[in-house]
Assembly symmetry: C2
Homo-oligomer: 389 residues x 2
């Protein structure tokens, strides 16, 4: 019970930032003296600080403000993305304290990322002071690998990768607990669900463009994972039986028509061009670019309508490279939905651009990494005396 | 704690049938005297009986066998299906004790079903002896209504329907607790998950043909419901952008190509013919019928591949009118999957025909109806002295 209450207080300030004891008392439904004791224990463990508020807004003795130790306690968050690898230190409270990246060669497998990621982490930790504590580590892994010839292979987070990262990082510096790994779109969905545009929404489809399309899907407040952890490969739903050959071996997959490669192809831009360049040209009135945006947004709406009929979500979020495409083609997407999605399913539907941008996979990975600390604050590796050094 | 243990014992014999105290002890991880006391309490409440086994298989005093009171305690299960209405009394333990049905006119709304369903229930209850107990009531409602002109409207279980049924049945006979309602495909999925081919499977897609297509989807052991309870309208995923006009207003919906109407159309059979007649003709070698089965099975596999890429289930179950179609076209469906579903998602995938047949919606509704009794056996309406009479 006490462990659960300690976790509730720490999780609250981790998610909501500095909070007075008085507000914690009312928000968590615990009495005042219990909150005081819990906050004192968390402060003694070096997880929160307590201070008098800078401006007392009411008469009487002001309630102490409880803040997460956002620079002293941190998680190590990694991402294996199609074209780059990133490593971040994310403080308790969710702020990115340090961020490093390195390019990822085309066709490289997730395992090829272990050594360069360990390098990034080593560099980050070199300048850390001794009183910082690592609370855990997690990695977000893009679910597919694209070879130079366009072939697409499913290759996400698996046990081999987790074990290799665990070993490489243990030797890279201070000890840390076992790794957590997940699919990049799932983890970005978790980030938007926890701290972004989907906070408080229990039924959502998060779509990630990178340049393929994948989804992280939450139903009834829980992430859909699938039997083998491979759910959400929505980019390989076939939307056009007579469509283009896809790198996965099938034909007419959604990502061949609504991914950023499709945007470049329609705009006549060479592969490798940033899709943002096409969107900018369209915004400036370039007719070819505008047609390209319209055509891709039509197919984007097409696939979204199918997912809406299947899941009946409250919210669809467009993230990764889809963020800007959605912003440019929202009207087209919505019109497609209005002709294809069942009225009962689209009635209460909201469409939104992701709010955490490119940081979503790292912020989500940090949430996974913090989870054991937040579940058991005084016995988890983030606490003083239990950091595994 | 005691309530939870009573529920565990009752649920076990409800799901697994007569079980010895010795087996309950080992399967539920409780000690022998606790099981004895719980079974005695359930017996005193008229929910189970205890008897010495007919053949003692081992030396020593035989362990009493605990059996659910399968004729005395029952649930009222109703279904509102496209062409008929059904009412059943389902005994504790899951056996159908009585089943009545009446035709449903084309285009009738779910609310139109209230009076004829109440008639069926009244007829069932007329002959009941006084010592029987109703444990609850639930209804499975087909998710769409088809007008005579082919128009499709989403019209499933809603509060108005539940309230109307509650009132009609309360006046139809003995008092009973509030109604539970759900989507027919969801409830049939629940039945297959609890007592059918999907028992023990946590990630499954149950597809129901009736003659449209809908799905009940379980991920991580929980039913996907959606924001407004409208998930699983998979029949209205568009699979062919240039396809036929669908009654829902869209074009190329999955059910226009893989539903039983598509089978009749391809076989040149008049609407209203039983799809089983086409399947029989195909089995006897009729070339047109065989082509029709092959063509529809191709489209069935097409949509299943999309759902497999989205959900990564362990199992896909074919129920309702899809049961026989799948049996006839399994090879075609599997070949489609092998070209369209991602290898990582189809590797461990099983495809199976539903095992509960046309009874699935009624058996699933009974499970919903029994739930409050199984959660709190001595205080729920199924217990002696609390039947609401």
């Amino acid at each position: 019970m006490r462990r659960q209450n300690l976790g509730a207080v720490l999780r609250f300030v981790h998610l909501h930032g500095p909070t007075s004891r008085a507000e914690l008392t009312s928000r968590l439904g615990l009495n005042r003296s219990t909150i005081g004791a819990l906050a004192a224990d968390l402060a003694a463990a070096g997880l929160v600080t307590e201070e008098a508020p800078t401006t007392a807004r009411r008469a009487g003795r002001p309630s102490l403000v409880v803040s997460p130790c956002s620079t002293r306690v941190h998680a190590t968050a990694l991402s294996i993305e199609p074209h780059r690898l990133r490593a971040a230190r994310v403080g308790l409270g969710g702020r990115i304290l340090d961020l490093r990246e390195t390019p990822r060669p085309c066709g490289a497998s997730p395992l090829d990322a272990v050594v360069p990621l360990a390098e990034l982490v080593r560099a980050m930790e070199r300048d850390l002071s001794d009183d910082t504590r690592g609370a855990g580590s997690a990695v977000a892994v893009a679910d597919t690998v694209r070879e130079a010839d366009g072939t697409v292979r499913v290759a996400g987070a698996d046990e081999t990768l987790v074990a290799a990262l665990d070993t490489a990082l243990a030797s890279a510096g201070r000890g840390r607990p076992g790794f957590v790994a997940g699919d990049l779109a799932d983890i970005a969905a978790l980030a938007e669900h926890t701290r972004g545009v989907a906070t408080g929404v229990d039924d959502l489809v998060y779509l990630h463009g990178d340049p393929g399309l994948s989804a992280g899907i939450v139903t009834g407040g829980r992430l859909v994972v699938g039997h083998g952890g491979r759910s959400g490969k929505v980019g390989h739903m076939v939307v056009d039986p007579n469509g283009r050959r896809c790198g996965c071996g099938s034909r007419g997959c959604w990502e061949t028509e609504a991914g950023s490669d499709a945007l470049l192809r329609r705009a006549g831009a060479p592969p490798g061009t940033s899709p943002v360049a096409v969107l900018r040209a369209a915004a400036l009135g370039d007719a070819v670019a505008r047609d390209a945006v319209h055509g891709v947004a039509e197919w984007l709406g097409f696939g979204v309508a199918n997912l809406v009929n299947v899941f009946n979500p409250d919210l669809v979020v467009f993230g990764g490279t889809l963020r800007e495409l959605y912003a440019a083609g929202a009207g087209t997407v919505r019109r497609r939905l209005d002709t294809m999605a069942l009225p009962a399913s689209r009635e209460h539907l909201h469409l939104r651009a992701a709010s955490l941008g490119a940081d979503a996979p790292l912020i989500g990975a940090a949430e996974l990494a913090f989870d054991s600390l937040l579940s058991d604050p005084l016995n988890a590796p983030g606490a003083v005396g239990a950091s595994g050094q």
